[in-house]
Amino acid sequence: MTATAGSEREQLAYIAAKAADSRVNVELETEGMTLNIGPQHPATHGTLRIVAKLDGEQVISADPVMGYMHRGYEKLTEVRTYPQVTTLINRIDWLGSFANEVPFILAAEKLMEVEAPPRAVWIRTILFEMSRIANNLLGLGDMAAQLGAVTPVFYAFRDREYVLNQVEAVTGGRFHPNFDRIGGLKDDIPAGWIASTKDSMIKMRQAADELESLVFGNEIFTTRTRGIGIIPAEVALEYGMSGSNLRGSGVDWDLRRDSPWGLAYDQADWKVWTHPDGDSYSRAWVRLQEMREGTYIVDQLLDSLPSGPVMAKVPRIIKVPEGEAWVETENPLGAMGYYIVSKGDLVPFRVKIRSASFNNIAIVPWVLKGVYVPDIISILASLYFILGDIDR
């Protein structure tokens, strides 16, 4: 390590530590108290436990404890054939089900040098975006519920069905489609699906508008989220945050636009939303805009849907040639990537799953330092994680 780079690094680390410390009021130091949040919490998606040390009402340190849902997918993939793996990885982020399968399949296709036919690529992208719409909608409704407004979450559960019904009509599964295949898709879309999906997209836009007026105009909501849990862009980047959380910190980076390999995002006209504030409000706001933008992407792709087969010619027994491949896509919760090491066998040699929530939640000890207890809930809700996506 060079001397200059080292000292510069220490300086930056020092500044970051001071910034975190300055949020804790040391003058009023009282006898600390440990507050155990979880592992059961009705509003978390899974069982996250946070051990928070408090000074009065301020958090001195927060330590998330995970592993209650660790299923060891990286080990399990090593004893499953490639087509069997999609069944497992559906369960990583169970609210963005179809989107979980896509990067893995793309990585396997990359190794096999198979290219899915255009129609399959289009349908993949449409289903991918529909996962995002359902996921973001529920995330926003759930956030409102955690902040004390019970109505939006019921609206979210109700309206989400319009999307899930469409996903079910194609794949047969509301949550675990298991529909993506190496070289294409299991099936084509059913008759009449395009029209009914467009109808459901109109409903989703209405849901977004409703949610916006119901939640984002609410004074309690704004008071509890504006200026709470600010994550500067530099910190968000070095913790590897992604998705709406990163764009809520003003970073204009979206893999759908910047690395559209294997998906049809470059065939639609859409916008990447960012918000400069980096607080809880901006993260939720970006999430809402992305949900609405997703409906436009789906509409456009439905209009330009090419005809043709949905499956390329692939061997019936999938053997992936030796090599390594890394594919990362912009999943509902953020960047999700699979690093596949193949030894030319029926099963992968090693699969590294880079899930979005794992990185998004790694910032919790940093961001919770110095905040007040009620803000913990607001911040965690705005980060919007799914435990299956953390624990894998």
């Binding site: 390590m1 060079t2 054939t81 084509d188 043709g308 390594e324 990362e328 029926l346 794992f358």
Partner: protein, 241 residues
């Protein structure tokens, strides 16, 4: 139409990104010198760089502070040792598939250890990825893990690496010098063994056969002399169009 569009785009893009990756590699070599042991560029896809164990922290430092690679993606590890359990570790259904492909071999002895892209000399390797989100560059960095199973930490450059390193530590037993928090992340504190190592048996598979065999339906083309039945499956879907 769209098909040809994407095809031409790829044809145009591939050499360009290749140049960009070569430039990135050249810059890294200039800055790090001998620390870079090996590298591999897949045009239009990815750049792999292998550094010495000592260079593992240095390359992160250079990328983070001198080259605008501000985004931390992940850190993980690979155990390159072939599984000593051979095909015994495979599910019953895999053996059936292998038999259909005419490859029902005896449980083979573990083969030679063979490292992947950008080479390697040790059983364990750590690898990670960082990105430059303004210029949209990224690379995968690998490093060998010595016998002492200790490599330098990345947290001084990328604080977000702390949980990733904890995960690698509990799953592979590789420790990161300089990371103060090496508690188990997922596993219970008194867990013995390192689950993602190849010599750690997946007990669920060992004690009872995988029940997937019960669910296997007869597939069209079963009984073919070759296991590759590509024609029948795709013809059907084409006919459905």
């Amino acid at each position: 139409m769209a098909d040809t569009d994407t095809a031409t785009e790829e044809a145009e893009e591939a050499p360009a990104t290749d140049e960009a990756r070569e430039a990135l590699l050249a810059e890294l070599q200039e800055r790090l010198g001998d620390a870079i042991i090996d590298s591999l560029i897949k045009p239009g896809d990815e750049l792999w760089v292998r550094v010495s164990t000592e260079g593992w922290a240095e390359i992160a430092d250079v990328l983070r502070h001198a080259m605008n690679f501000l985004y931390f993606d992940f850190v993980s590890a690979i155990d390159w040792m072939p599984s000593p359990f051979g095909r015994e570790m495979d599910a019953e259904v895999d053996l059936v598939l292998a038999a259909a492909a005419g490859e029902a071999e005896e449980p083979e002895a573990p083969g030679e250890m063979e490292q992947g892209y950008a080479g390697g000399d040790t059983r364990f390797q750590v690898f990670g990825r960082v990105l430059d989100v303004t210029d949209l560059r990224g690379l995968i960095i690998k490093a060998d893990v010595p016998e002492s199973l200790e490599v330098p930490t990345w947290i001084t450059s990328y604080p977000g690496a702390v949980w990733h390193e904890r995960e690698v530590h509990e799953m592979y037993g590789i420790s990161f010098a300089g990371n103060p928090d090496m508690r188990n992340l997922y596993l219970p504190g008194d867990f013995e063994g390192y689950p993602l190592r190849k010599d750690f048996p997946l007990l669920a598979r060992r004690v009872k056969p995988w029940p997937g065999i019960v669910d296997v339906e007869g597939m069209p083309g079963d009984g073919d002399e070759e296991g590759v039945g590509d024609a029948s499956a795709t013809d059907e879907s084409e006919a459905a169009q």
